[in-house]
Amino acid sequence: MLSIKNLHASVEDKQILNGLNLEIKAGEVHAIMGPNGSGKSTLSQVLAGNEAFEVTEGEVTFNGDNLLDLATEERAREGIFLAFQYPVEIPGVSNLQFLRTSVNAMRKHNGIEDMNAAEFMKLAKEVSKQVDLDPAFLKRGVNEGFSGGEKKRNEIMQALLLKPKLAILDETDSGLDIDALKVVADGVNALRAPDRAILMITHYQRLLDHIVPDYVHVLSEGKIIKSGGPELALELEAKGYGWLGIDDQAAANHG
């Protein structure tokens, strides 16, 4: 599904990714772990098409197409979804209006008629329950005044609505208490499907207790330096990033 070869990327002339390689097949769940500054979020932003990031070398194909040639909105319509680490607050645009516009943009791309307001409302209510968000949130401004946990649940709710082929979850576990983590993990597990791939980006192992990945990769200085099964995450948890020769203060504190 997704094939990344020798990817180099920079932001504001600072080189962040330095030859990253990754293959993800349909149905698989991959986790990328790494210390702060290793390039985890850059990878997610580059895949989603944030123009602030520049690809300087390498290639990315998505279901055979050159992903880097596609505009941000085209990537989304082809099935790439990024759950933001810091979802943006947009006062004045209701969550409902935003979600419906988004769902209908995808439907239009796939040659399906727009969903009418009543139909969409029903669907949105069902999905909001799935992530334990009060449907009242649908009427509020996009992420406006939401707590950190509510924002993350809103992201997962969008993934459930948009049914992407590849869901990239950027630090979806950060800032969540144990209960919220459980809700988010249940939502992500509900996304697992044979025709869908999930790429989770995380600093800590705890999310992986709830969502067991097929593969774990360790990212350091813009490259994957080690790959393995779920046991690799446990090993990192026990020994810290230092074990792999990575200097990481945050990891040392928690390792």
Binding site: A48, G49, N50, A52, E73, V93, S102, A105, Q158, L162
Partner: protein, 433 residues
Amino acid sequence: MKSASTLSNAFLQPAGQALPAALLTLRFDRASALADLILPTRKTENWKYSAKHLKLTDDMASTLPMDASAEAGDYNSGYTVVMVNGVVRPDASNYPTLEGLSIQRFGDLSEDDASVAADMLSKSISDQPAKSGSVNMSQLNGARFEDGLLIQLQPGTVLDQPLFLIHHTTASHSGSAYPCILVAAGNNSQLTVVEDYVSSGDCSVMVNTTTEFSVGDGANVTSVRLNTEGQSVQHMGTTGVRQQRSSRFESHSVGFGSTLRRHDLHVRLEGEGAECKLNGVVVTQGTQHYDNHTTIEHVAANCNSEETYRNIAADKSHAVFNGRIHIHQDAQKSKANMSNKNLLLTSGAEIDTKPELEIYADDVLCAHGATIGQLDKQSIFYLVSRGLSPRDAKVLLTMAFINELVEQIPVEQVRDTAHTGLKQFFDQAFKEV
């Protein structure tokens, strides 16, 4: 225009003499006073940004004639008074008949009512010459009006539907029009007035309007002002409001049209416990220039004022907001809140904002805030990453900036017109994608 910076004589020749003596006298006095005043320049503080756009050439001095074919607009239901070039067209109007409500043309006023009208105009708070001694647009209206409406509500009268005042300017040749509207709402009365300014034709014209509201004890008056005139129109509007005890006044102003638009809105909270809410939405594009000057005077104690203006400027347009709050010495326990947020859509657009607070009482709660910004790139990326086109994302974010104010407009037809106007604005402003 002559080189001297006083108003050309051509502008001081009113047409139409079919008015009661009290109003003719007032008009004559206004014209005499104007003769000595200079036109505003960029050194005139309250015309700093707009003076250079003001074009009062002699060919625009003559009063535009009545045009019986001018259409009334599309308000097929409800109470409607149509004014064409400042003169009422009774045949196109649908006057409400309601006990306690009287709507009279200036020409039809009895001596008593004429002195009520003249009194309202002579006390007009927006009518004082600026300290600089320059021409005030409302004075020019006073020197030139040839027709007008005195709308009176007896105490306790409630108008069940909005009253639409359609001001149609026919710009088939150059000239000017001077509509004048006086609303006297008695104690505990209620009404909503919609002033809709439209135009046809594309010659250079000026519309110079005066609207005065006198709001009695406990009365509740809502003023909605919509401006969709064509690009050859200079719109000079003045609204004055006096509020008595425990009264409420709301103003909702939406502007898309005309090349130059200036609106002065002056509210005086004269009775204790009065409150006002002033909302304004301005979107400009091309080379449009909009200037909103508002003044809220807290004269009595325990009054509240809430003001929210939003400007969006595209292309090479220019929006100006000057909001003044003046708390008089006796106006203790005043609460005043003013917010002005501005959005620049291009690097060629300009917005100037100046909140002014003048406080002479010591126990008051006042807040004001003004911001100028652009669309947030991260917000655009967020929306586009959900499959929206960049254009749709920008439209959604721009709409979000003003939607709250549009939704607060209490008249559905005006909200609909606002949405249509905004859609056209977005189609122009974001056409590049």
